[in-house]
């Protein structure tokens, strides 16, 4: 029962097959988690956690050569009444509670940021309007840290909106008190040259519910680690993601759900569309069910829709189960193509080519978009999808 079970699955297109190495979540990292960048060797690119990432495009975030500039990013927080918004020093006790950096850049961000943002929703405060965090790149290099903490039974929606151009390494902590409900929408709508790397840790309290949407459209290189762990039984996590990877873009989402507590649920669903030469999407979905996490119920899914030749997907779901006393555990990964025959079929029914493409891609994303529940974000996404498609024709 305590024996670890490792189920690697690979799914790629363009003749590339990726299969997870025969290793565990813990052993395939090059170093144990740490807040100190010095604890991580500079990656050379062949490590399991770096092998899909083009290091030369990280602009020095990974090797210590990227030094923060004065004008990195501008952060603007708009919060409804009852919410506390603070900027605090490095020694604030609330920083880093939700998780520890697992790779060199996350540790670099933690070691290099000067001020952190802390947003607190007091206990039993139920917000009716979203908290909006606008992170606008001003063309420089920046390191950052953001904490979002909900007291017991508080309910909030947070939108973190990344725009502009920057080289940014920043981590986010989400700390959910018992029975709290937090929905987070992180939008990566960067300009073409931006580089954005970060680790998003959620620590879910007893009977609390965490729902996350990670939406990545822009940037030259985006590499995010959404991670979840539980502070008590009864917690639920829904991790949704959408990405639209264009020619030359590298968009990487590396998830971990650590079922470290009994009777918790998780559901992961990431969907991506790709188009253009050297569009590269990477999805790593690690789910770990620890021996003590009896009664776990988990499912993870990744789907990719490849719209043109020349794009590449590496999709690696990985489920490690250390106890058989669970409700359910499953995973799925599939990469399909919008091919000429589909186009012909739709056009043979009178539908023009551009509309046919839009129909397929909107349909592909619809089930996730509809769940966001913030109207202006849903609309913006649909417009964005249409813009991406128009740019390709």
């Amino acid at each position: 029962m305590a024996e670890a079970q490792n189920i690697p699955v690979g799914s790629t297109t363009a003749g590339q097959i990726a299969v997870a190495a025969e290793s565990t979540v813990a052993t395939r990292m090059s170093a144990p988690p740490s807040f100190d960048v010095a604890d991580f060797p500079v990656p050379h690119g062949r490590e399991e956690e770096w092998r899909f990432t083009p290091l030369e495009r990280l602009r020095g975030l990974h090797d210590g050569t990227a030094v923060a500039t004065g004008t990195g990013v501008k952060v603007d927080v708009q919060a409804p009444e009852g919410v506390t918004v603070e900027t605090v020093g490095r020694d604030d006790a609330r920083i880093g509670k939700a998780g520890t950096p697992v790779d060199r850049i996350a540790a670099q961000a933690f070691s290099a940021f000067e001020k952190a943002g802390v947003i607190t929703v007091p206990k039993e405060t139920v917000l009716t309007e979203p908290i909006r965090v606008a992170v606008h790149g001003e063309g420089g290099i920046a390191y950052g840290h953001q904490v979002v903490e909900l007291g017991a039974f508080a309910e909030a929606v947070v939108v973190i909106d990344h725009t502009g151009d920057a080289v940014l390494a920043a981590n986010v902590d989400y700390v959910l008190g018992d029975g709290a409900k937090l929905t987070v929408i992180s939008v990566q709508d960067w300009d073409d040259k931006a580089v954005h790397v970060g680790q998003h840790n959620a620590l879910i309290g007893r009977d609390a519910t965490f729902k996350s949407f990670v939406v990545t459209f822009g940037g030259d290189l985006v590499r995010l680690h959404p991670r979840v762990a539980y502070a008590g039984p009864g917690g639920e996590a829904e991790l949704f993601g959408l990405y639209f990877t264009d020619a030359g873009q590298h968009q990487e989402h590396r998830l971990l759900v650590d079922h470290n507590t009994p009777h918790c649920k998780s559901n992961v669903a990431y969907k991506g569309a790709l188009q253009g030469e050297d569009a590269h999407a990477v999805w790593i979905g690690d789910v770990l069910i620890e021996a003590k996490a009896e009664g776990t119920d988990t499912y993870e899914m990744n789907r990719n829709l490849v719209l043109t030749d020349g794009a590449r997907v590496d999709s690696v779901p990985n489920l490690e189960i250390e106890t058989g006393e669970i409700v359910g555990a499953g995973h799925a990964s599939a990469t399909g193509r919008f091919d000429d025959e589909q186009l012909f079929y739709l056009m043979a029914r009178g539908i023009p080519a551009d509309e046919a493409r839009r129909l397929v891609v909107r349909g592909f994303f619809a089930e996730l978009v509809q769940q966001i529940g913030v109207d202006d974000i849903e609309e913006r996404l649909l417009v964005k999808i249409d813009e991406e498609l128009e740019a390709s024709v």
Binding site: L305, F344, Y345, A348, R349, I351, V360, G363, F365
Partner: protein, 254 residues
């Protein structure tokens, strides 16, 4: 009255780094209200004719003309042909993940009719058409052709035929792979459309079985990339009795 005119149609396809001529001078006229059966052995070019008329990019027209009411069909893109009134019911309809049948049908009807159908009447129209084809209402929520059985795919093709009301319908082996019950349901659908008198039908088939349900006005035997013989319904009876051997071995094919 709508008329599809095919004159001296030659079509090639690229295969194994070689150009192969499949159609070698097809002449055929199909008028609104008429039903033409095209019968022939495997590999005679029947499906190539169907897909060439619909504009599939795999096929190259090297000679000849195709007009619909005098308009040059070969100059039109695939979607323009459909909007001009051509419909191809496919032998192997493809899956379109992420697109529901209801969304697909409505988008298609909007494109063909030039305006979005009024929602209330549209829902009723679709519901009735689906009932006529013994299709469960839940069908509309499934993704186009995804996980459909062979029979479901063909019903879905005929559902589109009924809703889109083309001037000329090309049915490419709609009968293949169907059991007798499904064949009857699908044939009834085709006949409902034919009875309006507003569609010219080109029924492409390998077997005579479907002709018991759908009565053609003319039967053409297709062999060697062209029409080898044309006649009335009695020609189908002759094929039923004698098979295609006279055409494949008799030197008619090139």
């Amino acid at each position: 009255m709508a008329t599809l005119e095919i004159r001296d149609l030659h079509v090639t396809v690229e295969a194994d780094n070689a150009t192969k001529e499949i159609l070698k001078g097809v002449d055929l006229t199909v008028k609104q209200g008429e039903t033409h059966a095209i019968m022939g052995p495997n590999g005679s070019g029947k499906s190539t004719l169907a897909y060439s008329l619909a504009g599939h990019p795999k096929y190259t027209i090297t000679e000849g003309t195709v007009t619909l009411d005098g308009e040059d069909v070969l100059e039109m893109s695939v979607d323009e042909r459909a909007r001009a009134g051509l419909f191809l019911a496919m032998q192997y309809p493809v899956e379109v993940p992420g697109v529901s049948v209801s969304n697909f049908l409505r988008t298609s009807a909007t494109a063909i009719r030039g305006e979005a159908p009024k929602l209330r009447t549209w829902i009723k129209e679709v519901k009735e058409a689906m009932q006529n084809l013994n299709m469960d209402p839940s069908f509309a929520e499934r993704n186009v052709n995804e996980g459909f059985s062979g029979g479901e795919k063909k019903r879905h093709e005929i559902l589109q035929l009924e809703l889109l009301k083309p001037k000329i319908a090309i049915l490419d082996e709609t009968d293949s792979g169907l059991d007798v019950d499904a064949l009857r349901v699908v044939s009834e659908g085709v006949n409902r459309v034919r009875e309006t008198g507003e569609v010219g039908t080109l029924l492409i088939t390998h077997y005579t079985r479907i002709l018991r349900y759908i009565k053609p006005d003319q039967v053409h035997v297709f062999a060697g990339g062209r029409i080898a013989e044309s006649g009335g319904p009695e020609l189908a009876d002759k094929l039923e009795a004698e098979g295609y051997e006279a055409y494949t071995k008799g030197g008619v094919s090139a």
